[in-house]
């Protein structure tokens, strides 16, 4: 087993991986940009190395600096987390050359599945169902209109190199095509350092269903069932759950087997995810392989009992998979909500700044993967994900109730977050019914403005503000007071309310 691992990432996922290493008795090295000296992953690691200025291209995406940090600290392996260099085949090759184990797939497989266009070709030959789309990347913007016409609107622009919604655009008619292409390419360039995009058919009213796969270095491949990630805004998943309400055991088995086949055909090893679109006729199409740990991996861990980060490390260290497909089972129901620093009342615009106060929810069945704390400044340079709230319960109904309660108990003051939006989303009757498609938010929450607060709550806020001013506990200023005398409180004592809370 490895003695020391460098975690080439930041935020909640770096924290998650460092903790997994600690549980396995493996020393850890964190890396940090100048914007992250005070970040949580730096505090909890055994060693921490500064790797440059805040922009990711100068730090977390700079292979030379990462490799130098790894050599200086003499690590055995690098865990890339998700994003940044996680799916960068050149980086995996570089690690191989420097004799540092890259905790992820081998560089050939990574290159193949990372090239969305080439992998579509390979898998089509292996009879994997593929969404209709371009055979190659957009090379000539002048002929692109003909391509789009051939596929048929609406079409989806997708980055060849990436995932996570970056560079993605839906185009409903021809006149939107050119500006969407430009924006998609710029975003792809900025996120992955590669502006290649391609077009595929956009399937309406579909669900996003993906299968978690583990493959060891000796040809064993198992899937750990599905995650449904249909709830997206700006093509970014925000709520994920397992099991999916759309799958029956037969379809689940069929999709799972297809996922295993995708990985076998690709020569894939370590952890990965095979993404599918499921249309309203329950026909499924291969979308892409995410060749890394996923943001939403905890829902799989809670329902299968398998720690995916432990398995990633063990596989990379040359261990065999400790289970076969028939040993694996799904138990109960898990839901994840991503907590973003963004303002859902203002078109989900990112919200940076200082977290004035933070208190995370607790309780049986509540897991919180988190990279923040009270007093931390949310930097503007990186993805706005702050934390992930995950709940497990015996069934979906109870899991939803637990999630709503946990969101209610979640305290973040100072920056805007998606918490209230998520609460209304989980509480929506259509979500309750399991009627989730990729257009769920557009269909049901396009005009969402959020609760303004009952009169009772407003009264309490005023009371708290007055208490605070009276004792000067948080305010440094004197608030304006009028001189009107308070009438005797003993004359007309109000009853707070008649019903319950």
């Amino acid at each position: 087993m490895f003695k020391k691992i460098l975690v080439a990432n930041r935020g909640e996922i770096a924290v998650r991986i460092i903790k997994a290493c600690q549980e396995m008795g493996i020393s850890t090295v964190a890396v940090f940009s100048d914007a992250d000296r005070l970040s949580l992953h730096v505090q909890i690691a055994d060693e921490a190395i500064g790797i440059g200025p805040p922009p990711a291209v100068d730090s977390y995406l700079d292979m030379d600096r990462i490799i130098q940090a790894a050599q200086k600290t003499e690590v055995d392996a690098i865990h890339p987390g998700y994003g940044f260099l996680a799916e960068n085949a050149a980086f995996a090759r570089r690690c191989e050359k420097e004799k540092i184990v890259f905790i992820g797939p081998n560089s050939d497989a990574l290159e193949l599945v990372g090239d969305k266009v080439r992998s579509r070709q390979t898998l089509e030959k292996a009879d994997i169902p593929i969404i209709p789309g371009m055979k190659g990347i957009v090379e000539d913007t002048s002929t692109i209109k003909a391509e789009a016409q051939k596929i048929g609107y609406p079409v989806m622009i997708k980055a060849s190199a990436g995932g996570g919604g970056k560079g993605m655009r839906i185009v409903f008619d021809e006149k939107e095509l050119t500006p969407a292409l430009e924006a998609g390419m710029r975003e792809a360039k900025s996120a992955f350092g590669d502006e290649s995009v391609y077009l595929e058919k956009y399937i309406e009213e579909s669900r996003h269903v993906e299968f978690q796969v583990l493959a060891d270095n000796y040809g064993s491949v198992v899937h750990l069932f599905e995650r449904e990630c249909s709830i997206q805004r700006r093509h970014q998943k925000i709520v994920e759950e397992t099991p999916s309400q759309a799958l029956d055991p037969e379809l689940r088995a069929r999709m799972g087997e297809t996922a295993r086949k995708v990985m076998k055909v690709s020569g894939y090893n370590n952890a990965g995810t095979v993404e599918f679109l499921l249309d309203k006729e329950k026909k499924f199409y291969f979308l892409e392989v995410n060749a890394r740990l996923q943001v939403e991996h905890p829902v799989t861990e809670l329902t299968t009992g398998v720690d995916l980060v432990h398995q990633q490390i063990k596989i990379a260290a040359g261990e065999k998979l400790p289970f076969k497909q028939e040993d694996l089972d799904q138990n109960g129901h898990a839901i994840e909500c991503r907590i973003y620093a963004e303002d859902p009342q203002n078109n989900f615009l990112p919200s940076s700044g200082k977290i004035l106060y933070f208190k995370e929810p607790h309780g049986p069945g509540v897991r919180h993967d988190c990279g923040i704390y009270s007093g931390w400044d949310v930097p503007i340079y990186y993805d706005p994900i702050l934390a992930k709230l995950i709940v497990w319960a015996e069934n979906r109904e109870t899991a939803c109730q637990k999630m709503i309660k946990a969101l209610d108990d979640y305290v973040i003051l100072g920056v805007q977050t998606s918490i209230r939006f998520l609460k209304d989303l989980i509480g929506h009757p259509q979500f309750h019914k399991g009627e989730t498609t990729t257009s769920f938010i557009q269909d049901h929450f396009a005009d969402w403005t959020g609760e303004k607060g009952s009169e009772e709550k407003q009264k309490l806020v005023l009371l708290a503000a007055a208490f605070d001013s009276l004792h000067g506990t948080t305010s440094g200023k004197n608030f304006q007071m009028t001189k009107k005398e308070i009438y005797s409180p003993w004359l007309s004592l109000g009853k707070w309310r008649l019903g319950g809370k």
Binding site: I380, K457, Q458, K459, F467, I486, R497
Partner: protein, 167 residues
């Protein structure tokens, strides 16, 4: 003692007095007794007629924030000027519409030029923050009067981007 606050930009009054081991407050013509306890610098516990409330609080230089049952409220001083416009916009003294950066970030592209005519919802500029591009759109039809930024500029929240003469 009487207090005036701006709660969600609306002026509100409340009076509060400390008695022996509880508080008396008046609001909306009614008076109530409350047991209020400071739990921590960021939390108070309130019991009114046996009903229990947890209120979380924090402040920055402009505002105090309060959170009850997951819902956040902003309280400001009543002396502060109330702006009647949506976040990211302001009517200038000359009657033009000043479009401001809704969050700190980097200007990726300015999509219009001075004197150009724009329609409602047309994209004026693109600002990137946290790796996402955000399109800044016109809220009315009009003519571009002035452009304050160019591509590559880093902007702070509320920084002027573009001035628009509504038509």
């Amino acid at each position: 003692m009487e207090f005036e606050f701006l709660l969600n930009d609306v002026l509100q009054q409340i009076s509060l007095e400390k008695k022996e081991d509880f508080y008396v407050f008046s609001y909306g013509g009614k008076t109530y007794e409350a047991d209020i306890q400071q739990i921590s610098p960021h939390q108070i516990s309130v019991l009114i007629d046996d009903v229990s409330f947890r209120i979380y609080t924090a402040k920055d230089k402009d505002s105090r924030y309060f959170l009850i049952d997951g819902l956040q409220f902003v309280v400001k001083e009543p002396t502060e000027q109330v702006e009647g416009f949506r976040k990211g916009e302001e009517i200038t003294s000359e009657g033009t519409l000043l479009v401001k950066a809704p969050m700190p970030g980097k200007v990726i592209k300015v999509c219009v030029s001075e004197k150009a005519e724009v329609r409602k919802n047309q994209t004026l500029a693109i600002v990137e923050a946290m790796k996402m591009e955000n399109e800044i759109k016109a809220s009315v039809d009009g003519t571009i009067k002035k452009i304050h930024v160019s591509a590559g500029d880093l902007v702070d929240s509320e920084m002027p981007l573009i001035e628009l003469e509504p038509s």
